[in-house]
C-alpha cells in the first residue's frame, strides 16, 4: 500500500536543472538549423520624423542579401497587442529611435553589422517629446487625436463611484500632498532577445525562441501573415531570463524573423546583441504620482486623490494593462473611506515601454509607501502607528469595494517583520549614533500587497486550458503553454501533478511549449502560474486519476508500478488518453470594467519589507546593508524556488531604487551597455532574510497564491523610507543615485543626475578608438 509522500511544500530538484548545470540547456542562440541564415534590423536613428529616402551603399554586395520592407508583409503591417497602432515595420514615419524600418538576412553573420551601417536613411525630422509633462501639454500630438491625443488610456477609479464630498477636505485636520517619480528600468535578462524562424508555403510559419507567451506570438503572426493560427507554430526554447521583457516583445522579433524566412527561403536566426536589446526593446514604464490626502489628527485616512501617470513610449503596446494594475494597487493595503484615482498612460517618442515584473504596481506602491511616511511625519505619528490605524483586515472592503473574505492579518505581519528585523532597537541605535558618524544609518519599511492573476474578468477572457496526457510509455506528461524562464514553472507544475496523482515527482514529465502540441493555458505573466495554471493542473491530474481509477485497471492506494501498468493497459485498450481542465471563474468574482470596481483579483499576497541602509557622507552613496522580507503567500509550493524568487525580485528592486538609471538623450538610450547601465553585482547586495507565512487560498493549487511580482513592489519605498530616516531628507524619486543625494545634502545646484552628460561616455575606449 503506497502512502503519498509530501511533494508540494518540499524542494525537489529543478526539473530542467541538470541540463542547466551541465551547460547542455539549449537556448536559441545555441541552436543551428540546416541552411540557416542570420538576420539584422535597420532602425531609425531619429525620434520622430518622416522618411525621405533610403539608399543602399554600393560598397555592399546587396544581391547576396535578402531585404525585407513593409511592402513584403503579406497581412497587416501591425504588431498586435491590444491596439493595432504598432507597425511591424515603419513605412513613411518613425516615432522613436530604433524603430525597425528594414530587415536584412545573409548566410554570414559577420557581414551584417557593416550592411546595416551601409543603409543610409534620410529623414525630415519632426518635434519629439520625451516626458509625461511634454506629452500632457499636447503642444505636439504624436499619437491619437482629440480626447485621446497623446493618451493611450485613462482610468477613473472612485470608491463607490462617488466623488469625494468637499466637506471631507474642508474639515480634515491635515491635507498632505506629495509628488513621487520612478524612472525606466531595463529587464536585463542575461540572454538577449532571439528567435529562429522558418517558413514553408504549405505548412506556414514556425518560430522558436526566447519568450514567455508562445500564443501571443501566434496571434501576432496570424495578422502579419494573414494565416490561420494552425499555420503559425511557435516553440519556446530554453529562456535565459525574461521578467516581462519577453512578454510582448517576441511578437516583434518573431514577426521580423518570419518575414526574413519567408522572403529568403531559409531559416533565419535573429538574435540581438546587448547594445541593440537594451536600446530597442521594452522597459518598465516611468511614472509620476501625485497624492493629496485628507487625514484626521488621529491619523485616520479620510480621503485620497491620486493622479497616476505613466510614460508608455511611442506605441500603446501593454500600457493600458500596466496602467490598470498600477491604478488598482495605488491605494495600497489600506482602508479608504473615500478614494479617487485618476490614471493615464501617455505617449512619448521613446521606444515603447512594456512589461516588467510588477507591471505598474512597483510604480504606484513606491509613491504610496513614501507618502504614508510623509503623512506620519506630518500628523506626528510613527510610520508604524500610521499603518496600524489604517491597514485593511479580514472583512474590510478594498478601494475597489472588494470584500476581503480570505483571512488577512497585516497587523500581525507588521509586528513580526519589525520584530524579526529588530526595527525599533535599530531605529534608536541609529538615532543615537548618526550625529557623530560619517556613515548615517537608517531603517524603513513598506507594507503592501500584490494581486495574483489577471485583473477582474481577465482570467475569464483568457479561458485557460491545461491538458495532461499519457505518453506511450504510460507516464503523465503535462501540456501547457506556461513557460519556464527560471521561476520554476516546470518544477511546481510537476510537483502539483505528482502530488495529485500520488506518483513520485520524477515520474511526471512536462512538454516543451510547442503551440501545435500544447493548449493555451494563458501567458506566463501576472503571477498567475502557481495559482491559476497550477489549479488547472491539479484538476486535470485529478481527472486523469479518476479516469484510470474508473477504468478498473487501477484501484486506490496504487503504487507507481500499478499506475504504469494500468496506464499501459488503458492505452492498449482505448488509445490515447488526455485529461483536461478549463478555467472556471469562481462564482463570487465580479469585476466591472466600466466603474472599475468589484473583485479586482481573486487573491492577494500580503507583505511587509524592512530595509536597513547606510549613507556614506564621504561619497554620498547609499547602500542597503540588511533586508528582511516577510510575506503571506497562501502556500509555498517549493521553499527553495519561492525563496529564490523573493531574493531575485528584491535584488532587482534594489537596482530599481539605487543603481539602475536609464540615461536618455534626445530619445536615445545612451547607456545601452552593461558597463554603463549599473546592475548590482554580488558585492553590492545585502543579506536578504526571507520568511513566509501561509494562509491557503481556495483558488490556487494546494492554496498557493502568486509570488513572482510581489518582491518588486516593496523594496524601493522601504529603502527610501530608510534613507529619510538616515539623512532627514525626503527623497521622492528613484533611482536615487549618490549624485542626487549629494545635490540635496550639500545644497549644491546642478550636481545631481539630471546633470549627467551622456554624450560623454567617458573612458571606456582607448586612444585607438573613435
Amino acid at each position: 500500500m503506497a502512502r503519498t509522500p509530501q511533494i508540494v511544500g518540499q524542494s525537489p530538484l529543478r526539473k530542467e536543472g541538470k541540463a542547466k548545470v551541465l551547460g547542455r540547456a539549449q537556448y536559441v542562440d545555441d541552436i543551428t538549423l540546416p541552411n540557416m541564415w542570420f538576420g539584422a534590423t535597420v532602425r531609425s536613428t531619429i525620434p520622430r520624423g518622416r522618411i525621405t529616402s533610403i539608399k543602399f551603399d554600393p560598397a555592399i554586395p546587396w544581391h547576396e542579401f535578402t531585404i525585407v520592407s513593409a511592402a513584403d508583409i503579406p497581412g497587416e503591417n501591425t504588431i498586435v497587442h491590444l491596439a493595432k497602432d504598432h507597425p511591424c515595420l515603419a513605412v513613411t514615419h518613425v516615432n522613436h529611435v530604433e524603430e525597425p524600418i528594414l530587415l536584412l538576412a545573409h548566410p554570414d553573420r559577420a557581414v551584417l553589422p557593416a550592411a546595416v551601417a551601409a543603409v543610409h536613411i534620410a529623414y525630415e525630422e519632426l518635434p519629439a517629446i520625451y516626458t509625461i509633462e511634454e506629452s500632457e501639454k499636447k503642444e505636439h500630438i504624436i499619437w491619437g487625436e482629440g480626447e485621446t491625443a497623446n493618451t493611450f488610456k485613462t482610468y477613473l477609479m472612485q470608491k463607490n463611484q462617488t466623488p469625494i464630498p468637499d466637506e471631507i477636505w474642508q474639515e480634515a485636520d491635515f491635507i498632505v500632498e506629495g509628488e513621487y517619480r520612478t524612472g525606466a528600468q531595463e529587464q536585463l535578462y542575461i540572454e538577449n532577445n532571439g528567435v529562429i524562424a522558418e517558413y514553408d508555403p504549405e505548412s506556414g510559419v514556425t518560430v522558436r525562441g526566447s519568450m514567455q507567451c508562445p500564443f501571443y506570438l501566434v496571434h501576432a503572426l496570424t495578422l502579419v501573415f494573414n494565416l490561420p493560427a494552425e499555420k503559425c507554430r511557435v516553440i519556446q526554447t530554453e529562456t535565459g531570463g525574461a521578467f516581462g521583457g519577453k512578454e510582448d516583445f517576441p511578437s516583434v522579433i518573431g514577426s521580423h524573423a518570419a518575414l526574413l524566412a519567408m522572403k529568403s527561403g531559409h531559416p533565419v536566426k535573429l538574435c540581438y546583441d546587448r547594445a541593440e536589446d537594451m536600446a530597442a526593446t521594452t522597459k518598465r514604464h516611468p511614472s509620476r504620482t501625485r497624492h493629496r490626502t485628507a487625514v484626521s489628527k488621529d491619523g485616520k485616512l479620510l480621503a485620497g486623490e491620486i493622479d497616476f501617470a505613466i510614460d508608455g513610449g511611442a506605441y500603446a503596446t501593454l500600457s493600458p494593462v500596466v496602467l490598470s494594475r498600477g491604478t488598482i494597487h495605488a491605494p495600497g493595503p489600506y482602508l479608504w473611506p473615500h478614494i479617487t484615482v485618476r490614471a493615464k498612460a501617455m505617449a512619448t517618442n521613446i521606444p515603447p515601454h512594456g512589461a516588467f515584473r510588477g507591471f505598474g504596481a512597483p510604480q504606484s506602491i513606491f509613491a504610496l509607501e513614501r507618502h504614508m511616511d510623509k503623512i506620519a511625519k506630518t500628523v506626528g505619528l510613527t510610520p508604524e502607528e500610521l499603518r496600524r490605524r489604517n491597514l485593511l483586515s479580514t472583512g474590510d472592503r478594498t478601494a475597489t469595494n472588494q470584500l476581503l473574505s480570505d483571512p488577512v492579518d497585516m497587523q500581525h505581519l507588521l509586528t513580526k517583520a519589525l520584530r524579526d528585523s529588530n526595527y525599533h532597537a535599530k531605529r534608536r541605535q541609529f538615532d543615537h549614533e548618526n550625529p557623530t558618524s560619517t556613515i548615517k544609518r537608517g531603517i524603513g519599511f513598506a507594507t503592501f500587497f500584490h494581486g495574483a492573476g489577471f485583473t477582474g474578468s481577465g482570467e475569464r477572457r483568457l479561458n485557460s486550458l491545461v491538458e495532461i496526457e499519457l505518453t506511450p510509455e504510460g507516464q503523465p506528461r503535462i501540456l501547457v503553454s506556461s513557460t519556464e524562464f527560471g521561476q520554476g514553472t516546470n518544477t511546481i507544475l510537476c510537483q502539483i501533478a505528482a502530488q495529485t496523482l500520488h506518483l513520485p515527482y520524477d515520474q511526471i514529465l512536462i512538454a516543451q511549449p510547442d503551440t501545435t502540441h500544447v493548449p493555451n493555458s494563458g501567458p506566463t505573466v501576472a503571477s498567475r502560474t502557481a495559482m491559476i495554471v497550477g489549479k488547472l493542473v491539479e484538476r486535470a491530474a485529478q481527472s486523469l486519476r479518476n479516469t484510470l481509477l474508473a477504468s478498473s485497471h487501477l484501484s486506490d492506494n496504487y503504487s507507481t508500478q500499478d499506475f504504469r501498468r494500468a496506464a499501459l493497459r488503458f492505452l492498449a485498450q482505448h488509445g490515447p488518453l488526455k485529461a483536461e481542465a478549463r478555467y472556471e471563474s469562481p462564482g463570487n468574482i465580479f469585476w466591472d470594467d466600466e466603474t472599475y470596481s468589484g473583485e479586482a483579483y481573486p487573491a492577494y499576497a500580503w507583505a511587509v519589507y524592512v530595509a536597513e541602509v547606510a549613507v556614506d557622507t564621504t561619497t554620498y552613496a547609499a547602500t542597503v546593508t540588511s533586508f528582511h522580507a516577510l510575506q503571506e503567500v497562501g502556500k509555498v509550493l517549493h521553499p527553495i524556488l519561492a525563496t529564490g524568487q523573493i531574493e531575485g525580485g528584491i535584488a532587482q528592486a534594489i537596482g530599481y531604487a539605487l543603481y539602475e538609471k536609464c540615461l536618455w538623450r534626445n530619445g536615445h538610450l545612451t547607456n545601452n551597455q552593461m558597463t554603463n547601465y549599473i546592475m548590482p553585482t554580488s558585492a553590492d547586495l545585502p543579506p536578504i532574510h526571507v520568511t513566509f507565512e501561509e494562509t491557503p487560498s481556495p483558488h490556487g493549487a494546494f492554496g498557493a497564491k502568486g509570488i513572482g511580482e510581489l518582491p518588486m513592489d516593496g523594496p524601493a519605498p522601504a529603502i527610501l523610507n530608510a534613507i529619510e530616516h538616515a539623512t532627514n531628507i525626503a527623497f521622492n524619486e528613484i533611482p536615487l543615485l549618490p549624485e542626487d543625494i549629494f545635490e540635496r545634502m550639500t545644497a549644491t545646484p546642478d550636481s545631481g543626475t539630471e546633470d549627467l552628460n551622456p554624450a560623454i561616455a567617458g573612458p571606456v575606449f582607448s586612444e585607438a578608438t573613435a
Binding site: G17, Y189, I190, A651, A683
Partner: protein, 137 residues
Amino acid sequence: MKRLLDVLREDLQLTGAKEGCGEGECGACAVLMNGDLVNSCLIPALQVEGARITTIEGLAIDEKLHPIQQCFLEEGGAQCGICTPGMILATHHLLEKHTQPTLLQIQEGLNGNLCRCTGYMRIFEAVQQASLVGTAK
C-alpha cells in the same frame, strides 16, 4: 580574427559558454585558460595558442555531475541557467584558490558573473555547500 567565444560555440559546437554582453561585464562567456578564469568574448583566438581551455562541458566526468554542479542543483543556484556555466567555472576557480572561502571571498570571486534571477543568495549557498564537500579536485 575570431574571438575564443566564437571558436568554442561555432567551430567546436561547445555552446555552454554564452554571449550575454560581448564586453566582459556579465561573465556568461567565462572559461578557464590554464586554470585562470577569463572572459572568452574578449580573447582573440590566436592568443590562446598552446593554452589549455576548460569549458563547462569539461567539468562533469562522464555523466556524473561535478560536486559544484550538484550543489548548484540542490541549493537552487540555477534559475534560468544562462549565467550558470560561467558561474560554476568561476566557483571552481574560486575554490581552487580558497578551499574554505569566507562570504567576502565568495562575493569577490564571483563579482564578474552577473545573475539577474537569483539575487546571488542561493548561489552563495551553493558555493558554501560545495566548499564543504571539498571540491578542490
